[in-house]
Amino acid sequence: MKPKMNKFALFTLLPFFLLIAMFLVVPVVTMISASLSGENGSGWTLGNYIEIFINPFYYQSFKNSAIISFTSSLIGVIIATFVAYSFTKFHSAFQEKLLLFVNMTSNFAGVPLAFAFIILLGNSGVFTLLFQQFGIDLFQHFDLYSWAGLTMIYVYFQLPLAVLLLFPIYKGIDEKWKEASFLLGASTFTFWRKIGFPYILPAITGTLSILFANAMGAYGTAYALVGSKINLLPIRIGALVSGDIYARPELGSALAVTLALLMMTAMLVNEWLLRKVRRDMK
């Protein structure tokens, strides 16, 4: 059975790998080769990587990006886990409409999104003024142009993605498992903690990986809101490869390659941890 199987599989995978080779491998190779060349694309050097490692400016951008990405992904996945579940409790026709709306907002990002938040929470935002009328200075507690505001806006574009990705997995949970656990004395919470959650965990961590990567690469929204006030990796890379100022694409590429390696490592660690928790998966 094995050999036939592989032939069939390969045949099916052929177009996929062809597309990957043409449109992913090619840019990746360009990126790697650029990251290894000196300024103005001359010669071979590790200088770009060395600069990344010795310069705290870049180190900080990695750290900041990782923090905001991780926080927002985690918040996003946690909220989405509940929301996606709540979705399943509605009539399927209504679910369709909910999903449609969520999908629409998942695409709301970048400058327009930042601007919408400014309308709501900016210096003369709807809520800022409303609160003022009640004698509360919103900005004493919350500044849109800060980590808090940034997190909020990241969560905004992470949430719909997370909901859309997590929604289908609830269909795999057999209602009977829930019933069996209730009869054995478990509460709903216990069911989710011991059975439901572990069961959907792989999908959740997979989604978390995607969200994390999505946030690590996100650019427009943050940039429109805080500019360079918070030193973020994609903004660094963007400045180096596509600014209106003196560009250093080689260094930008090196940053991007490092980012890729980091994400791969994170994914593998994630995978490894998952296998520790879900021992029934091989």
């Binding site: 009977k176 498992w177 019933e179 209730f182 009869l183 004395g185 029934d280």
Partner: protein
């Protein structure tokens, strides 16, 4: 009042009525079997008792308390699902330990109890396997162990032994009976296997089409069916019309009624005082193990006859044979 009473329960899915105004009552520590054809509503009834499906009408009381609207986990009812419903992310051990953990038992005690019950159902060497690594019968035994180990007040078993061979099955029937008696558990046991039902139960509720067809001890049901349905379902009776009865006894009888039932094993090779005789020709022989089943043609009517499997007393194919039947073994219905 009985320990568990079910009072005029009705349940329907869409426009299909699955339970129809059904009532039953069970004493504390009793083992009652629900028997009935596939699709008659046995699983649905259990699910309603467990609180997994809400009835459209009617009440359920346990120990004088109405629990109709209590959530499942507060009913102290255990259940073995027909489809097992093992937790896929837990090993056999973890599955079985789950209920005990919910009771906040100590690790040591859990270990002890789980090991004991796995031993009992004979899958102790699979304790670290995941459900998808088990055979059908092993899954079923894990599911059984999981619900028995918590010693619920009421245990509902939905065909808990259907995937097991006679050996394990008989053993587990005995064990279940022992546990049940030791702990005073009230059990409702669903089975499609009438032999199992007769062997294990204090009383049998025979269901048909969402209703109770007959209740009684196994022997009552077996020997005194009150309807053609019971006769056919429980006893594998020969059910005969008046014309057929006339035919096989050559009209030499004084039975009244329209429908008659005769158990296949009621036929004797030797005559006794008050008996009738039939004379037929063997059409088919099936050896069922300890029983040999003959199909006898008696003047155009087919009669099933079952005899013990004695190697030296076998009737041959096409042999003409006279058999005798006690008068009281011919049951008549209106």
């Amino acid at each position: 009042m009985s320990y568990l009473t079910i009072d005029k329960i009705s349940l329907s899915f869409g426009n299909v009525n699955v339970l129809k105004n059904l009532s039953l009552s069970i004493e504390k520590g009793e083992l009652v079997t629900l028997l009935g054809p596939s699709g008659c509503g046995k699983s649905s009834l259990l699910r309603t008792i467990a609180g997994l499906t809400a009835a459209n009408k009617g009440n359920i009381n346990i120990d004088e308390r109405t629990i109709t609207h209590l959530p499942p986990k507060d009913r102290q009812v255990g259940m073995v699902f027909q489809s097992y419903a093992l937790f896929p992310n837990m090993t056999v051990y973890e599955n079985v330990a789950f209920g005990l953990k919910m009771l906040k038992m100590s690790k040591e005690l859990i270990q002890e109890k789980v090991t004991a019950i796995l031993q009992l159902v004979g899958i102790q060497e699979k304790e670290n396997a995941y459900p998808h690594e088990l055979s059908g019968g092993q899954q079923q035994r894990a599911a059984l162990a999981r619900s028995v180990v918590v010693e619920p007040k009421i245990l509902l078993l939905d065909e808990p032994l259907s995937a097991l061979d006679a050996q394990i099955r008989k053993n587990l029937q005995t064990q279940l009976r022992l546990i049940q008696q030791k702990l005073g558990i009230t059990m409702i046991f669903v089975t499609h296997d009438q032999e199992e039902a007769m062997a294990i139960s204090d009383r049998i509720y025979l269901m048909n089409n969402g209703e109770i067809a007959q209740v009684g001890t196994p022997e009552e049901l077996y020997t005194k069916p009150n309807s053609e349905f019971t006769a056919r379902f429980i006893g594998n009776y020969n059910v005969l019309t008046r014309a057929q009865i006339d035919c096989i006894f050559n009209s030499k009888h004084e039975f009244t009624g329209e429908t008659f039932a005769i158990r296949p094993e009621a036929f004797n090779a030797e005559p006794s005082k008050a008996c009738f005789s039939i004379n037929g020709k063997v059409q088919d022989i099936t050896i069922l193990g300890n029983i040999v089943r003959y199909e006898l043609k008696v003047g155009g009517v087919s009669i099933m006859v079952e005899q013990l499997h004695h190697s030296n007393k076998r009737i041959m194919y096409n042999e003409e044979k006279t058999l005798f039947i006690e008068r009281e073994d011919v049951i008549s219905f209106q």
